[in-house]
Subunit: 349 residues, 2 copies
């Protein structure tokens, strides 16, 4: 019996490749982690809100590693017009990402009310652009909203958008709750959902007092994690990998004062495919690896892999993930998720 | 109209005074924070499980600051016998603290099953010792238990103990949930509940990515915090202050690797009475200050303050809490809660 797995054209449908010198470090880690398609988030400073910015960013990424298919997105903001959507489509931009104001990294420009964007969504529906939702509402103590129920409280907005724009493809990004899984399952074929690797591993206990495991949305209850695992084990075609790999320099993860919290984000890119294989195997879903990490997302986005496309061979090999094996840089100290822990799989050279 | 408040004999019914050199730094902060009664937790290394240890610890504390009434406790553990309970009572020990195994600082010796301790509880009931419960069950992913519902899942054990030992005085320590408040209210007069200062201020959003606000039990939802505030505003006689002030050196709060979390604990002792006044005023309960921070707990423990007892004058004075004003030590770097933030009250010299 072979201990190798061949995965056809792994695709990460949610990744942060950053900007400046950090971008030069993390972009090569997409392929290092086994992936040749990266759906690129637009939350830079300033955010990517125009086609021209997106194309310039894509050119930068291609100059760093030309062997990855970068799917570009725009940041939903007031300057985004139906005309810009049509221009974006012609230029090959794939989606528009919506961030609620203030809930995650560089989301100060995020939205507060979707109705003002209905003309934009109508253009997206016509042009076939995908709407990517960071599905959390801002915390609001008077209404008992905090990071734990921010996703569940958002779900009615997802339902409302889908009803108003049934042909608009919508992706609920990085789902973390049973409630989200159930709502997405209940909606039509134009609504899909990404799941990160780390949310298959973590619960709230793992980020309580542990800043390297703190991200937005936060990992929830064990039963929520089980719902994410179950829907993958079931092979549901509208749930697929979006790593939300989000590198932050170590200094930003280790906050230093009582009034300044650490940056939110878990960095998985450098070990992503072995990690996903390891986790799926841990809950009996290894046979779903190619569906979850490639074909389901490609199908939803209309990016089917060619038979001659890139294949990645995973080999069964128990090893401890070392910091030095994940990412190295003199300028930025980064620490990958799972460093110091055991993985059962490596990418065969 | 005077801007002073006089508080008669403030009493902190749950405080960690540590051991070794740290003990010498934090013990004087009890009076610095306005308190002259300290109900002292026994979770040292090794834990305080005998009367002799408790007396030696009390002598140490009195050698550091003799002007505080230290009420001593034993750590519930297999070596604690009914005979030891009777000896403890004769020596002036006041209570026995129960820690579930592994849920907080130095709780490796914690209990897993209460029934084996029924003979001890019977002796405590006869002798009038108080049972202090850290009311959390250990995390258990298979049963969906994590730090968020660990307290609520514990409550049936509180109810069961109270029914079995109705004359045993029991304190549910550092309650953080509406569920806990409601259960304690529903039980008899022998069951009380401490509330910390920091749980009146924090919710889960405050410790998400913020290790200085991470403690056990973790702060919960905004609605839980409101329940704690409401029961104080109502002046309920069985809910009173136990700060759970828990100093940890800064290095222990700033965890440094992805697989090593930070120490759990919030340190409030040096600013405790001004902080409690500030917080109570913020939710319209300033008139409950003496009840909450002195007389209710003293009543429950049978430690009524004498008319000639110590009085503390709080003066209205807006100021920013400075690190240097809270605790100073060359050997241990500590950071008090609320450093860098504004308080409306100071202790008048």
């Amino acid at each position: 019996m072979s201990s190798d797995i061949i995965v056809n054209a792994p695709a990460d449908f949610h990744v942060h490749l950053r900007q400046g010198s950090l971008c030069h470090i993390v972009t090569p880690c997409v392929r290092k982690g086994g992936f040749t398609l990266a759906y690129v988030m637009p939350n830079l400073k300033p955010p990517i809100t125009t086609t021209d910015q997106a194309l310039a960013y894509k050119a930068l990424l291609e100059s760093i590693d030309p062997h990855v298919d970068y799917l570009m997105t725009l940041y939903l903001a007031p300057e985004l017009t139906p005309e810009e959507i049509r221009k974006a489509k012609r230029a090959g931009v794939v989606g528009v990402k919506s961030y609620p104001r203030g809930v995650t990294t560089n989301s100060d420009a995020g939205i507060e009310n979707y109705e003002v964007y209905y003309p934009v969504f109508e253009a997206m529906e016509q042009e076939g652009l995908v709407l990517n939702l960071h599905g959390e509402v801002p915390s609001d103590a008077d209404n008992n909203v905090c990071v734990l129920n921010a996703e569940e409280r958002f779900l009615p907005q997802l339902v409302k958008l889908h009803k108003r724009f049934p042909a608009l493809r919508i992706v609920l990004e990085h789902a973390t709750t049973r409630a989200a899984v159930e709502v997405v399952k209940s909606l039509g074929d134009t609504v899909a959902c990404t799941i990160t690797a780390h949310h298959l591993a973590l619960t709230v206990d793992d980020w309580a007092g542990q800043s390297f495991h703190f991200c937005k949305p936060v990992a929830k209850f064990p039963d929520d994690r089980k719902a994410l695992q179950d829907v993958i084990r079931q092979g549901h075609p509208r749930f697929f990998l979006g790593s939300d790999s989000a590198p932050h320099p170590i200094a930003s993860k280790l906050q230093s004062t009582p009034n300044h919290g650490c940056a939110a984000g878990v960095y998985t890119s450098p070990i992503l495919l072995p990690l996903v294989a390891h986790l799926l195997e841990s809950f009996g879903a290894l046979e779903r690896l190619e569906g979850f990490a490639s074909s389901a997302g490609r199908q939803f986005y209309g990016r089917a892999a060619m038979a001659s496309g890139p294949k990645v061979v995973l080999r069964r090999f128990k090893h401890i993930v070392e910091a030095a094996d994940t990412v190295q840089s003199d300028e930025h100290q980064l620490l990958s998720f799972w460093v110091g822990r055991e993985l059962n799989w490596v990418i065969a050279e």
